[in-house]
Subunit: 121 residues, 4 copies
Amino acid sequence: MEFDNEIPIYLQIMAMIKTDLVIGKILKGDKLLSTRDMAVALKVNPNTIARVYRELESESICFTKRGMGTFITEDESKIESLKEQLVDDYLSQFMKKMEQLNYSIGDIITKLKRFEEATHE
Amino acid sequence: MEFDNEIPIYLQIMAMIKTDLVIGKILKGDKLLSTRDMAVALKVNPNTIARVYRELESESICFTKRGMGTFITEDESKIESLKEQLVDDYLSQFMKKMEQLNYSIGDIITKLKRFEEATHE
Amino acid sequence: MEFDNEIPIYLQIMAMIKTDLVIGKILKGDKLLSTRDMAVALKVNPNTIARVYRELESESICFTKRGMGTFITEDESKIESLKEQLVDDYLSQFMKKMEQLNYSIGDIITKLKRFEEATHE
Amino acid sequence: MEFDNEIPIYLQIMAMIKTDLVIGKILKGDKLLSTRDMAVALKVNPNTIARVYRELESESICFTKRGMGTFITEDESKIESLKEQLVDDYLSQFMKKMEQLNYSIGDIITKLKRFEEATHE
DNA sequence: GTGGTCTAGACCACA
DNA sequence: GTGGTCTAGACCACT
């Protein structure tokens, strides 16, 4: 995995895990890689992974069983709300910027449709 | 102006100026506020503004006349391409994230339309 | 190291690093001194070094690993082209001035040869 | 005339006048344009020209007759030594940089000859 | 310990 | 009055 140098690595990894969770690549209750293994897998400092897990834990997305590892929450509604939150965040951030540029929702939809057609060719 | 604590101030100011340029609030050839005045206006250190102007200059968005001030480029095509680039950047960043979440363009358009209707009520 | 008061220190340091790179005193992938250490070594403010590294990075001559330091690019062709560019810059600047003084290349070569002989004595 | 933004305009104008003098485009005793006219001709601030004349005067290259204008020195040996000084300055600056890059005089001559042949084609 | 950012304040060259 | 550079010192995020 390549990281964007502008954004803290731990945030990028957090986003990755959240995305995997939302799209079902990771399921509730799944055990996450140990910090050490994850660090090796992502070629990253173990401390960085430790921070990722700590932050995710503080968001109740995962939890730690002493001596056993870190696990995704069993709370399905948490995952569901995560999905909505993630999408809404992305959407509102995007809309805010586009509005600053005087783009209406209609303009954006037009632009997206052109995007879609271009892809279909 | 309020700054997002997560993003370097100088980047936020750069984005602000670019946006102003794209929506025509600033025009080609316009003189920008002096570093000192801009610093006062934004309640920021003059050095920070100096960096903003320096970086914008390295992007050919503005240029400096020694002892006279900093001016927006006279090159209209530069501004035009800036506009496209800005929108495309926002759009592609957004699309990338949404695709990672398995949203199709159609899904997004649907979501946007619902957004639009909600606003019209 | 002594600095020429006429030229910004950060430019002089950049030129020094480029020269070291070109003559093989620094090699690709090498870690540069930390900003603080380099600042101490050159008796200069750390901010000045930070600027040097930032500018060199924008020229793709070095890159930064978060929290780990600043490193010379691994791209050997970059270094190769830097060497050529540096020499060609020096040469063309020199030639331009000499031509303005109505010196032909032949004249210059003659002058250089006299220089060489003088040195050999 | 276009100015290099990196070098003070007054220095560039000084170099221009010196060059004109050395190549005989300006002769000893010649009257220089008035600061105002020169400023208009070069699209530059009159203060800048005033500084140019002041500096040239301090180098004994020109002198001022009250109410009559600024004139090139009548001292021919001054002009002669200026020529040598200018060339030697350019040469030694160039040589110093090339030596830092481990180029010998022989290398430079080789490079120059290739330059010459390329031009003759 | 690493670089990145920011502030405060100073001095300089230029127009 | 304009930007450019530099110092000093601080805080922060990341490894």
